[in-house]
């Protein structure tokens, strides 16, 4: 049974995904990358969750596990009650129909040997649409993203970065999914086309109660579209709460550091010394002990080196993993 609006639709608890790292042919010490480490997260039907965090902190990996593209190392992800790593045959079909994805790398989304039309229509045909039904749907979805139909005949290498990204979005929308996982979906779009895509996503959320997980580094996008936002650092969720609260009153020092590094929006506001998060980018291979942000955290004490703070409730609907959260 599909979950009702406001009921959990994506659920995971203690989820981990570790990779072995290539370390040269003759090396015997196998290094492990803890890309996703003990993540618990629930996304409800009809809400938009924004996921932000350090580059390399495991966001794309988390998305791939949710999509069932790579098996978790520990625990399970449930989408609409289905274990995505081991779905029954009929459930697998349902997941393919109901969960759509836009991958991070725009041309990587598309088959280089297929025209845009082929890329968008193929999944429709696989799900049983006739040729003419599929074509009609492709035209409708191109109209909804306001992209001229002439691009349908183009191959990916004949399209600009942003045009590829819009075709990937069109393909995801064409299936009329219930859940969308969007990894940097507007990173190659100018802000006017971006605005139009974001508005469309919001319209669909309102009219059809779609659920979105949007991964992005663009905090303006998160602020605009998401209801709740999660912040990831070195494979872990550091903070999760209503978007407005997290942005206006971050509780975790990493979130605070990230917000301080936001670029100015007018050249007249340029500062001589841009505040950036101090220290070296964190290692997922040799994780710091205790709180994994401690080597870079301005609030860290001895306790932070040995105790690992769990994600704990700090305020209404708002959690943070910190021993000394900001207030």
């Amino acid at each position: 049974m599909p979950a009702a609006v406001g009921e959990p639709v994506i659920e995971m608890s203690g989820l981990s995904k570790h990779f072995r790292l290539s370390s040269g042919l003759f090396s015997s010490n196998k290094q492990v990358v803890r890309a996703v480490d003990d993540v618990s997260l629930t996304i409800n039907r009809g809400e938009i969750v924004g996921l932000v965090g350090e580059s390399g902190s495991g966001k794309t990996t988390l998305a791939r596990v949710i999509l069932g593209l790579t098996p978790p190392s520990a625990s399970t992800v449930y989408v609409d009650g289905i274990d995505v790593a081991h779905p029954a045959a009929k459930d697998r079909d349902r997941l393919h129909r109901e969960v759509a994805v836009v991958f991070q790398d725009p041309p990587g989304n598309l088959n280089p040997r297929q025209t845009a039309l082929g890329s968008i229509a193929r999944p429709l045909r696989l799900h049983g649409a006739s040729r003419s039904q599929a074509y009609q749907r492709v035209r409708d979805v191109m109209a909804s993203i306001r992209m001229d139909e002439r691009y349908l005949q183009s191959y990916p290498h004949q399209l600009s970065g942003g045009q590829c990204q819009r075709i990937a979005i069109a393909r995801a929308l064409a299936l009329e999914p219930k859940i969308m996982i969007l990894d940097e979906p507007t990173s190659a779009l100018d802000i006017s086309v971006q605005a139009q895509i974001l508005n469309l996503l919001l319209d669909l959320q309102e009219s059809l109660s779609l659920t979105y997980l949007i991964i992005t580094h663009d905090l303006n996008v998160v602020r605009y579209v998401s209801d709740r936002m999660a912040v990831m650092y070195l494979g872990r969720l550091m903070e999760f709460g209503p978007t407005r609260d997290v942005l206006q009153k971050p509780r975790h020092p990493y979130t605070q550091g990230l917000l301080a590094a936001l670029p100015v929006m007018n050249p007249k506001d340029r500062a001589r010394d841009k505040p950036v998060i101090p220290g070296d980018p964190g290692s997922l291979i040799q994780l710091p002990t205790g709180c994994r942000y401690h080597p870079r955290c301005p609030r860290a004490t001895e306790r932070c080196k040995s105790e690992t703070p769990p994600l704990a409730v700090i305020a209404r609907n708002h959690t943070a993993a910190c021993i000394y959260p900001l207030d």
Partner: protein
């Protein structure tokens, strides 16, 4: 000041057309831009307006099916006339490029470290010295576990790590001109700020110039000295960063600035620009924005607006100054 600026790159009436069904698509049209030594020039504009095409034209990496006219002068030498071999020498050392799609541009079967060290070896550095230098470059671009990551293959890296490999590769050649096409889209704002400060250092300490192609207005606001705004293959406005942000003249630039998400959906939907770019098979006569422009008049459709100067260094192409 104007007089002492030393020219590094000059595009003189550059046009690029691609063959498409039914004719030629005018991707870049009569573009004239000058980059001076020691400046960061941001090229912004609508997705598909021809920015990457400009980058490929300058590095002579266009697919080969195109039709190109106009001059591209680098250090005074017309690159369009160089032999392939001479151009190989200019690329990398003279002009370094960070491509928009790292996954397409990195070799999937070579480790990240090897790709960077091979680039350095082109400049006569021995293989022995090149690898440690690649690792140092990885540290400079804030790659975590630099040494171990040098042994990773592109598919084992995150999107932002791949971008950092591309940047390291370009930095390793120490070019006079850096062309960076959306170099930080996969980086969080803290690492992004650190990469931008590397670009600023190169400009300030080495007098290098950067042609920065980006949709990110934060990145532009942090770094650009001058900005060129493109629409449908044409340069429609150019000026200092402060002028473009605070006194945009062209209707497209003005509407673009307004689409930036500054609030949440609770405060209402974002403004967008109505309509879409029409097909430019066999170049149209008038202003290419006229079908979407709220100020469009008869003159706009009849012929291409001439370049007007708002104040020294700030130019735009539009007929309807009075109406705006």
């Amino acid at each position: 000041m104007e007089a002492t600026r030393e020219e590094l790159l000059r595009l003189d009436g550059l046009s690029v057309d691609y063959p498409v069904r039914g004719g030629w698509l005018s991707a870049v049209s009569d573009l004239s831009v000058t980059l001076y030594r020691g400046e960061i020039y941001a090229l912004v504009g609508e997705s598909g307006c021809g920015k990457s095409t400009v980058a490929y034209a300058v590095t002579r990496l266009l697919p080969g099916t195109e039709r190109m006219t106009g001059g591209i002068y680098f250090h005074g030498e017309d690159l369009t006339r160089l032999s392939r071999a001479r151009m190989e020498k200019v690329r990398g050392r003279g002009i370094g490029m960070v491509f928009q799609n790292p996954l397409d541009s990195l070799n999937p079967v070579y480790t990240a470290g090897r790709q960077v060290s091979e680039a350095i070896e082109l400049d006569g550095v021995s293989r022995q010295d090149a690898l440690p230098r690649a690792v140092r470059l990885f540290r400079d671009v804030r790659m975590p576990d630099a040494e171990k990551r040098a042994r990773s293959y592109p598919h084992e890296l995150s999107g932002g790590m791949r971008q950092r490999v591309m940047i390291a590769m370009m930095l390793g050649r120490d070019p006079d001109l850096l062309i960076a096409d959306e170099p930080t889209t996969a980086l969080d704002v803290s690492i992004e700020a650190q990469i931008l400060s590397i670009l600023l250092d190169l400009k300030n300490a080495r007098g290098a110039s950067v042609l920065l192609i980006t949709h990110n207005f934060g990145v532009v606001a942090e770094t650009a000295d001058r900005i060129g705004v493109m629409y449908a293959g044409e340069l429609i406005e150019e000026g200092s960063a402060r002028d473009i942000f605070n006194r945009p003249a062209h209707p497209y630039t003005r509407l673009l600035m307004r689409a930036l998400p500054r609030a949440s959906k609770a405060e209402g939907r974002l403004e967008t620009i109505d309509g879409s770019v029409p097909s430019f098979l066999n170049a149209p006569r008038g202003c290419r924005f006229s079908n979407r422009c709220p100020y469009s008049a008869d003159a706009c459709v009849a012929s291409k607006p001439p370049s007007r100067t708002l104040q020294p260094g700030h130019t735009y192409r539009c007929y309807r100054e009075e109406a705006i």
